[in-house]
Amino acid sequence: MLSLDSIDLAAIGLTLKLATVTTVLLLAIGTPIAWWLARTRSRLKGPIGAVVALPLVLPPTVLGFYLLVAMGPNGFVGQLTQSLGLGTLPFTFAGLVVASVFYSMPFVVQPLQNAFEAIGERPLEVAATLRAGPWDTFFSVVLPLSKPGFVTAGILGFAHTVGEFGVVLMIGGNIPEKTRVVSVQIYDHVEAMEYAQAHWLAGGMLVFSFLVLLALYTSRLKHNWRG
């Protein structure tokens, strides 16, 4: 029986690390964006919402291409990171994280935005009449009431980052233990006609994805049941 070699295991480890870091960052960045989108009456709501949703429809190569250009030595992000003494981001783990944050953004922002919108105005008004300031209200009322939204956002953000391929290839290339994630590793195995190893990884991804979605849908069902 063929099992996973050390390069495969490194790819799995790297994938989980990338997805974890990306999810944590996305929950931190996505929450204020989703809050703003849920509450604003600004005319910018449409355009900003559309930009956040772009990765849903863009080919990953397009997103990856622009990020590569921007983060490259001559891009504006690249200039900035170089002037800060950080070098350039492409072909590094940090570059993958930045790209993943953009790529998985809608999967985190949209569930959060839906959760915030579902809460409505009333609980916030009630909290204000009970002396809770805006921050206090957010942590004591909004967060607990939108917990299912956060769970959904976290799971989707994580799973979607695990499943990315095109953006990683454009930004990170294929450097073992640095930027080679599972999806890329599978691609390499197939290219090298190593179907057995590809099967192990692909099957693992399939089971993982199914379990994640199963958890998501059963938790939603339970939530609906409680009313």
């Binding site: 009333r122 008004e125 009630v126 009449t129 009970l130 002396r131 809770a132 206090d136």
Partner: protein
């Protein structure tokens, strides 16, 4: 005749003036708001007493809820000045706007709006623990007892009935020890049975706590039962404001307010007649007999006399099944909501009465201001 009418007008103004004196100085609420939305404008200038229950009364769309939300700071009026018992909460000219969470108010919403993720106890604590201990004037036990919610403390809001939820909502607002309690139709979402379940608690609130209440309602019975002071709103404007009894007896209001005309009388139970199973209620200028009341002698009771339940006679007619007869002087006669009827305002020895009679009867009996008549009261609606 004209002279007498003038005297009566002067009398009712006197009653109003008495109220104004009480609201002058730093005690009281001065609210001036101007809000404009497409198709709706609110423009009010209210001077309200700093104690007791003030009802904001009007039909839906009259702006009463908007007005209450402006007082709470949930709505920011384009132009607004709000001073509550000496504290300035808003003055748009000077750029003052105290946010809602820094205003010492309690707000009871139409739907109780309890936090679904917190137990009743945690809901009650939510506001209380955000108020400095030194400024808490309403004790936990006091609020819990007043609203009878001891047995509900460990339940989740989803397991409460509508009436129970509303009681918890009221207790939650009280526990912030507000300087002003705002209630937005707290009974409107409840059925009649639940309403009767809550009304006694609201009355106790009124009797036992010194917190001024602004109470929004479109129900004349609720207003008659709970309020001391009323503000009548119509299409975003104040039509009348003043003491409850005097304001409800006015006939110079839009028909929206006179189609269900009537007066409220404050009485005291004076005697129980065990033989006929009746109780005598005394009030300035007379008394009425009603079916035996359970309350003790000396108990204060409000009742409402609908204009349609009052008929007028030239002489005391003893040969009638109507037991409640009061001598009264006609103050004014105005056209009612239909051309066939008139409304007659009378003064029964200090207690105002309104009678709704046909124009034909009015002409045949020669009812004009200043004339002494007998008012026959067919029914009284006891509030309590």
């Amino acid at each position: 005749m004209i002279g007498e009418a003038e005297i009566l007008v002067a009398m009712s103004e006197c009653a109003g003036e008495e109220r104004l004196v009480a609201t002058e100085g730093r005690v009281g609420i001065h609210a001036r708001f101007r809000v404009g939305y497409p198709g709706f404008a609110l423009d009010v200038d209210l001077r309200l007493p700093g104690r007791g229950v003030t009802a904001l009364f009007g039909h839906s769309g009259s702006g009463k809820t908007t007005c209450l939300r402006c007082v709470a700071g949930l709505e920011s009026a384009d132009m607004g000045v709000l001073e509550v018992n000496g504290e300035l909460w808003q003055d748009s000219a000077r750029g003052v706007f105290v946010p809602t969470h820094r205003r010492s108010l309690g707000y009871v919403f139409q739907e109780a709006s309890l936090f679904p993720h917190l137990s009743v106890r945690r809901n009650l604590e939510f506001g209380m623990k955000r108020v400095a201990a030194a400024t808490r004037r309403v004790a936990w036990d006091q609020a819990v007892d007043l609203l009878g919610i001891e047995s509900l403390l460990d339940r989740m809001p989803e397991r409460l009935s509508g009436g129970e939820r509303q009681r918890v909502g009221i207790a939650r607002a009280l526990l912030t020890s507000p300087r002003l309690l705002l209630m937005d139709e707290p009974l409107a979402a409840l059925d009649l049975k639940r309403k009767h379940e809550i009304l006694p608690y609201l009355e106790r609130l009124h009797d036992e706590l010194e917190i001024p209440v602004l109470y929004v309602s479109h129900s004349p019975d609720e207003v008659a039962r709970l309020a001391d002071h009323v503000v009548l709103l119509d299409q975003g404007r104040v039509v009348a404001q003043g003491g409850l009894v005097a304001t409800l007896a006015r006939l110079d209001l839009p028909t929206a307010f006179t189609e269900d005309a009537g007066v409220v009388v404050e009485s005291v139970i004076a005697e129980h007649d065990e033989h006929y199973h009746l109780s005598r209620l005394d009030f300035p200028g007379g008394n009425v007999l009603v079916a035996r009341r359970p309350e003790a002698i000396g108990h204060r009771l409000r009742f409402r006399v609908h204009a349609r339940d009052v008929s007028l006679a030239e002489s005391r007619n003893e040969n009638s099944s109507i037991t409640n007869l009061l001598p009264a002087v006609v103050c004014e006669v105005v056209t009612a909501d239909t051309p066939a009827h008139v409304l007659v305002r009378l003064d029964a020895g200090g207690t105002p009465l309104i009678a709704r009679i046909t124009r034909r009867s009015c002409d045949q009996l020669g009812i004009v201001a200043g004339r002494q008549m007998w008012a026959q009261i067919k029914a009284v609606a006891l509030l309590g």
